[in-house]
């Protein structure tokens, strides 16, 4: 009396129920966004990048760039032409700037220092006048010992 196992039969019945297929239009939509990421390209040296980017930079307006370069050249030529050959070289200019101040400048500096002393003077002088108790007493004691 070995009949079919009811559980097995039930399982088989369920297994035969077909599943719903994925909507066909999903394939294109999902694959459109699931795009493989391109591997990262190692950075090229700056000279190679410049070689690549230079024509692209100049290409949109080659005449404008050429004109600009010409203007620069003209400015450079005019600059050289207008220079006074007798003028002091740059090094001597620096030396002149680094030279000691004139007497007038020194006098003015002194005046400013005096003004500063007058402005700060009362406070500083009071502090300076006041004897330091510990330091002075110690100093006196040392002097007594030495002279004794």
């Amino acid at each position: 009396m070995n009949g079919p196992d009811p559980m097995n039969e039930f399982e088989q019945r369920l297994r035969r129920v077909p599943l719903q297929p994925a909507p066909p239009d999903w394939r294109a939509e999902i694959l459109a966004v699931a795009v493989p990421v391109r591997p990262a390209v190692p950075p090229r040296p700056w000279s190679a990048r410049l070689r690549v980017q230079w024509p692209a930079l100049l290409w949109p307006a080659p005449r404008a760039w050429a004109g600009l370069a010409t203007v620069w050249l003209v400015i450079l030529v005019l600059q050289f032409a207008s220079r006074d050959p007798a003028a002091a070289p740059a090094a001597s200019l620096v030396a002149q700037k680094a030279a000691p101040p004139t007497l007038e400048m020194q006098a003015e500096l002194r005046q400013q220092q005096q003004l500063l002393v007058e402005l700060l003077g009362p406070r500083d002088s009071r502090a300076a006048d006041r004897p330091h108790p510990v330091r002075s007493s110690t100093h006196t004691r040392r002097a007594e010992i030495v002279f004794a």
Binding site: M7, F10, E11, R13, L14, R15, V17, P18, L19, Q20, P21, A22, W26, R27, E29, I30, L31, V33, A34, V35, P36, V37
Partner: protein, 170 residues
Amino acid sequence: MPGLPTIEHLYDAHAPALFAFLLNLTRHEADTRDLLQDLFIKLARDPRHLAGLRDERAYLLRLAHNAAIDLMRRRTSRDRTKDNFAAEAATPFAPAADPDEQTFRRELALALGELPADQRAVVHLKLWEGLTFEQIAAILAIPPNTAASRYRYGLDKLRDQLRPLYEEIK
């Protein structure tokens, strides 16, 4: 990367199974689409996921299951109520021309929807993917005995709910 399948090949080979599994778990077509899309985006961006795999399908089912569980945990309680579930539930089964068969499929979908998600996942993988309990256990990261017991519990509930209908159309 040489030797790895293209994303198109992966889609054609596995998307139907992943779709059915996800739809059975989420019972929501839009959620299923989002999960399926996220999964394939992940695979496309890093195909090394599949490097050296012995069983692509099992791996993809595991990814799909984890993603579906995460989504169900994130859902609000409003989405989890039975009323909304019944109203919005998408059936994982193809429609049938025969009215009796269609009724059976509809009742089966409802009965499956009543199962806890962990039992539903095991029942789906066992019945419609034809996997062994060891394979199911590996996919769901549970012991094989747990997979087997969940299957038995789930199947018993389905049988109890569908018995009258099943006896009628058997």
